[in-house]
């Protein structure tokens, strides 16, 4: 089930119907390994690096990336989680309900912050996340890692690390889990 994305989009109440599988579990695993290496290569190591997973869908990906980085470099990377609900630009337009409280037990000043999310779509979540991040300090840089870039950007935001680029229709929904990536639609529940 589409628990990662559908819970973060309360207007889309209904049942997720998968139409096609974009990636399987192996595909997700391999993409995460490649992204781990790209993060290392881009930043020439792990010095000053922090991973921040966005609630809900980015958190397990951030933890997985941290596991990979530990295995490659034998060095642990701090992982924070961030709920951006209170920074969104659609508060009052639709119901914006936070999921799990933010957990950011460190100052982000002068760190390289890698934001991690499951799906990059309009870019509005990332805009909100960047506003939130600067409340925790002044990072040296903010980078963005996503498993799926599905297009339809409404803001000038681009990812630094991408699992897979997927062309989608605007009304479709992408569901990312460790077991794979599904593309489908939300259909209204029959009463």
């Amino acid at each position: 089930m589409a628990d990662s994305e559908s819970t973060s989009t309360p207007l889309n109440r209904g049942v997720f119907h998968a139409r096609s599988e974009i990636m399987n579990a192996d595909g997700v695993r391999r993409a995460l390994w490649r992204m781990s290496h790209e993060i290392l290569e881009q930043n020439r190591g792990l010095s000053g690096l922090v991973l921040v997973g966005l609630e809900v869908g980015g958190v397990h990906l951030a933890r997985k990336l941290a596991e990979n980085l530990l295995e490659i470099e034998d060095q642990s990377v701090p992982v924070g989680t961030l709920d951006v609900a209170f920074y969104r630009d659609d508060i009052g337009i639709r119901q914006v309900t936070p999921s799990s409280p933010t957990d950011m037990p460190f100052d982000l000043t002068s760190r390289i912050v890698v934001l991690v999310d499951d799906v990059l779509f309009t870019g509005r979540t990332i805009r909100a996340a960047m506003d939130a991040i600067v409340d925790f300090g002044r990072p040296a840089a903010i980078q963005l890692a996503v498993m799926i870039d599905r297009g339809h950007r409404e803001l000038p935001i681009r990812p630094d690390y991408v699992g897979k680029n997927v062309p989608t229709r605007k009304d479709e929904l992408v569901d990312v889990t460790e077991n794979g990536v599904l593309l489908g639609v939300i259909e209204e529940e029959k009463p």
Partner: protein
């Protein structure tokens, strides 16, 4: 637009209370940050309309508004046109005409928060109406208990003192019961309301008989300003029978909580050093006051007002 208010605990019900307690976990995290502020309610205006004195309630609503980036208008009766005889209705319509999204009202008469929606479109929060209700106090008390003892389900909560004049007691009884706690009211017969039969609570005038069984001892303030007649022979005698003295506190269960909504009459309903007692969570109540009021404002103005926008895309 969905019309939403917090005039009574009844406006929320169990699901509304739980939603606000969940939001409070988030705002608790926000208040621990280096910059304890979020832009959630930017552009919203909140009017604080206080016809009665207040320290912690007004200050915590004001702090909560600021931490949500909302603007607040402070209206206190002493320095306003009420002194020139302006009616409640005219005052509310004036404030409303300035464009406010929420009005937090405290008034000496019960029922005032129910009048306001006739004159304004703003969401109304009751910050105390006479001896009737004070829902945000009940919410912060539920939050304080939940954080210290876990879920309220099955907890035994004892409320002691001037129940008759207490809006805190009325809201708290409703909130505690709807979260599954059982409630015992302790008061001399003169300070016990007449209609407690349909409240769903136990009542007694013997404080000592219930101390050992209670998970929470909730001490109410003697509301000397609301007592036109003498309900107790003397404050000294009241303190002897119903005050939480250090010796009474010794017969509490070791993990039980001592609570008080403030302001305290030290030496009357509680002995002078009870606030510093290891089981006292009075200071937590004050700290949670700001958090709960952030949740209440966000519940009404942020998460709640759902208007559908055609062609709006989600992420």
């Amino acid at each position: 637009m969905i019309e939403r208010h917090i005039r009574s605990i009844d406006d929320l019900g169990r699901s509304g209370i739980e939603e606000i307690l969940t939001l409070s976990d988030h705002f608790h995290e926000v208040s621990t940050r280096r910059i304890p502020k979020v832009p959630a309610l930017r552009g919203k205006t909140i009017a604080l309309l206080f016809y009665e004195d207040s320290t912690r309630t007004r200050l915590s609503f004001e702090t909560a508004s600021k931490r949500l980036s909302a603007d607040s208008l402070n209206f206190s009766i002493g320095s306003s046109s009420v002194k020139k005889g302006e009616s409640l209705r005219d005052t509310v319509e004036t404030i409303s005409a300035m464009g406010v999204d929420a009005i937090v009202v405290r008034h000496g008469s019960a029922g005032v928060p129910w009048l306001l929606p006739r004159w304004t479109d703003a969401a109304v929060i009751n910050a105390g109406d006479g001896s009737h209700e004070h829902p945000t106090q009940a919410l912060l008390d539920c939050y304080t208990i939940r954080n210290k003892l876990g879920e309220l389900d099955g907890k035994r909560i004892t409320i002691v003192g001037d129940i008759r004049h207490s809006r805190v007691a009325r809201s708290n009884v409703k909130a505690f019961l709807s979260l599954g706690a059982s409630v015992t009211l302790v008061a001399p017969k003169t300070l016990m309301p007449f209609n407690t039969d349909d409240w769903g609570v136990e009542t007694t005038d013997q404080f000592d008989s219930v101390i050992g069984d209670s998970d929470v001892l909730y001490m109410l303030r003697m509301q000397l300003e609301r007592q036109q007649k003498s309900f107790v022979p003397s404050l000294r005698e009241y303190a002897k029978e119903y005050g939480l003295s250090n010796s009474r506190a010794q017969s509490m269960k070791p993990e039980s909580l001592i609570m008080h909504p403030g302001p305290m009459n030290r030496g009357v309903e509680v002995s002078s050093n009870i606030k510093e007692h290891p089981n006292s969570v009075v200071n937590d109540q004050v700290a949670n006051g700001v958090i709960i009021r952030m949740s209440a404002l966000y519940y009404l103005l942020g998460a709640g007002n759902v208007t559908k926008l055609e062609g709006f895309s989600d992420e």
